[in-house]
Amino acid sequence: MNDPEIRVIKARSGWQIIDWKELREYKDLFYFLTLRDIKIQYKQTVFGFLWAIIQPLVLMVIFTFVLGKLAKAPTDELPSAIFHYTVLPAWTYFSNALNQSGQSLVASANMITKVYFPRLIVPMAPVLAKLIDMVIAYVILIPFMFYYEIVPSASILMFPVLILLLIITAAGAGMWLTALAVKYRDVKYIIGFTLQALMWITPVTVPVSTIQDKFGETWRLVYGIYPMGGIIESIRASLVGAAIPWDLLGISAATSIIMFVTGMYYFKRTERVFADVA
């Protein structure tokens, strides 16, 4: 008979390494949890997956009217609809993914206390599941682009990379928040409220160029520390054929990756108490 390896279970403390091999063994669970999140999301709704485009579309109409027509906010010379809709699916994705990911551990308390599996899967599944909505919403962008005769340039090749950065940002923040939320349930309220506020400082509403005009170049780069600042601005640039703001994106990407890595390790560090406080 083969002699399986011996696993030692004992008290852990401090920082933990990440068991990639184990994560691979559980890839099917990851797949089915993601599939579950996709399947249940619009069950028993009238509009079904139409909801994926309703949210960004309605926001676009409101922004175009309030910011474009009434407030005459700058849009970097782009038609207001294009300015907003090129990034609204990405923002909506981030907002929904973070919201679900941040509450994922508390929502799966019954699973966490009854069976073992790598906990990292829990906040990651909604981050992937919400991608479907974004893809659907971006398909709607195509007719808009034709209508306004916007032609992307080679910078569109950056689009997939930027989406990857977007996922990393959502996952990083999600891991931090859900690990905190298991213990401090305040996080649930913080997430909802902060996401609303954050939308207004993300270049979904006004372009980053306004910051530069008002406060100068240095503050523009400082703003890049907010990962969604550089990423959202670059997503728009990549789609409308503008130049990608590499400096801004570089800073945002760095914060995003730092947040992801630290989030993962913070999650692993606190993981051992999840079942006791969930």
């Binding site: 002699d3 399986p4 390896e5 011996i6 696993r7 030692v8 279970i9 004992k10 008290a11 852990r12 063994e25 559980y26 099917d28 669970l29 797949y31 089915f32 949890l33 599939l35 579950r36 399947k39 249940i40 069950k43 028993q44 799966s108 019954n110 699973m111 966490i112 206390t113 009854k114 069976v115 073992y116 599996f117 213990k183 401090y184 051992r272 108490v273 079942a275 006791d276 406080v277």
Partner: protein
């Protein structure tokens, strides 16, 4: 090298239990506390997982204390003990759900744990989708579920509803499907916590047969159960846990006997009042106090002979006047089977109202319960409460208290005779126009019958 599957060395687990919430009598006191709450809450929540500093205080609980045990490959082990003895904590550590505070475990082989059936089942998903989800949660890969899928469905008997969302399933169907997934796990080590008795009788038979097959397959199994029959019939060795420690271990029968002694000691320790283990809904102003059971000698006790005439007595205290309450008490076996309910309502005995302290006494018929341990549930319902709208599950009792363990002993009856042995009132036997009638049936004692049989058998051989 030894061939252990699980080796537990000096394992301890400490829990921090939430500190009591403070009470304030004055408005200003409550206001001040409300403003200070964020700081004190933060400290309190932070401390939940922080064991530094002061070691033991009133808010910590040792769920396991210095437990050591070793399980060989292929062994089927039972773990028994009272509620809160540490059995489930042990399983949770072995299955890596929670970390130990101290000590270590070595595990050889792939572990699957079954602390509950249907973990992760989602109501909106179909049966088929749930099989895959639940299977992978329990540690199978997609290929493994694929391979076992037909078997799982066949075993569950819900093939027709496979593509129906689980929310339209009856609870029985749901549990059968869930159990079928769990039953088809093929780990090297299986940890099971009290999940065997699910579904209807037919399905339970199927589960037990399947369990038997697993035990013979060479899988290492650790079974936590309150069902002594299951433990006795399937385990090679049994550990008795008490207060977080291993109190005894060895062959099933002596350990189970030791467990009964532990329970009996507890019974003897509090001879007059049964220990209340659970009380619900204390804010209704109705409470149940001083529950006692009396034997034929008229003294309070909790250890009865088969067929003994029992009297029960308890006090009710109600702050307000409550008209026409239903007063119920039920006898429940260890595996949650409700054996019978006694009720003033069923017997058409109307108690016009309760207020302040009242006492209820009830004389039960001869207790022909098959020897075992039983619980008593005392439940007080408001008028019409339990039956209003026909939906008992949503009615709220005024008071509900559970009393742990009284024992019935004597006679050679066992679980094979059911839970309650009832005598007939009259027998007739017809043959060739001749009729034999028998009415001399003893309704309170069958010792004599057994003794007579023994004598006859002994004399005959």
């Amino acid at each position: 090298m030894s061939d252990f599957a699980i080796k537990v060395e000096n394992l301890s687990k400490r829990y921090r239990i939430g500190a009591k919430e403070e009470q304030h009598d004055t408005l200003s006191g409550a206001m001040a506390a409300w403003l200070k709450a964020p700081f004190s809450n933060f400290r309190r929540i932070k401390k939940l997982t922080d064991f530094k500093g002061k070691n033991d205080d009133e808010h910590t609980l040792w769920a396991l204390k210095d437990v050591s045990l070793e399980i060989k490959q292929g062994e089927v082990i039972g773990v028994i003990g009272r509620n809160g003895a540490g059995k489930s904590t042990l399983l949770k550590i072995l299955s890596r759900i929670t970390d130990p505070t101290d000590g270590q475990v070595q595990v050889r082989g792939r572990v699957a744990s079954l602390l509950e059936v249907g973990t992760g089942f989602h109501n909106e998903l179909t049966g088929r989708e749930n099989v895959y989800l639940n299977g992978t949660i329990l540690g199978m890969t997609r290929d493994e579920v694929n391979k076992k899928f037909d078997e799982i469905v066949e075993f569950s008997g819900v093939a027709r509803f496979l593509d129906t969302p689980v929310k339209f399933y009856s609870s029985g169907m749901r549990v059968r499907l869930a159990f079928s997934v769990a039953a088809h796990l093929e780990p090297e080590i299986l940890l099971v916590d009290e999940v065997l008795a699910v579904g209807d009788l037919n399905f339970q038979q199927k589960c037990l047969a399947h369990m038997k097959k697993l035990t013979e397959s060479g899988m290492t199994i650790m079974l936590v159960s309150h069902n002594m029959m299951a433990i006795q019939s399937s385990c090679e060795r049994v550990y008795l846990m008490n207060n977080g420690e291993v109190a005894a271990s060895g062959k099933p029968l002596p350990v189970i006997e030791r467990y009964r002694e532990v329970l009996a000691e507890e019974i003897d320790g509090a001879p007059s009042h049964a220990g209340s283990i659970k009380a619900d809904n204390t804010d209704s102003g109705v409470s149940i106090l001083n529950f006692e059971m009396f034997g034929e000698e008229g003294v309070p006790k909790r250890d009865f002979r088969f067929g003994e005439r029992v009297k029960i007595r308890f006090e009710l205290f109600s702050k307000e006047r409550i008209e026409n309450p239903y007063i119920n008490f039920g006898i429940v076996r260890g595996d949650r089977v409700i054996i019978t309910n006694f009720s003033n309502y069923y017997d058409n005995f109307r108690v016009d109202y309760i207020e302040g302290k009242c006492v209820l006494e009830g004389w039960l018929p001869p207790l022909r319960l098959v020897p075992n341990y039983y619980e008593i549930h005392v439940v007080i319902w408001p008028w019409g409460g339990a039956h209003k709208g026909g939906d008992v599950t949503h009615a709220v009792p005024l008071a509900h208290k559970t009393y742990d363990n009284f024992r019935v002993s004597g006679t050679g009856l066992n679980s094979a005779d059911g839970v309650y042995q009832l005598p007939a009132t009259k027998w007739e036997f017809h043959r060739d126009g001749e009729t034999i009638t028998f009415t001399d049936i003893k309704d309170d004692n069958i010792f004599d019958v057994f003794d007579d049989h023994d004598k006859e058998l002994g004399g005959g051989i």
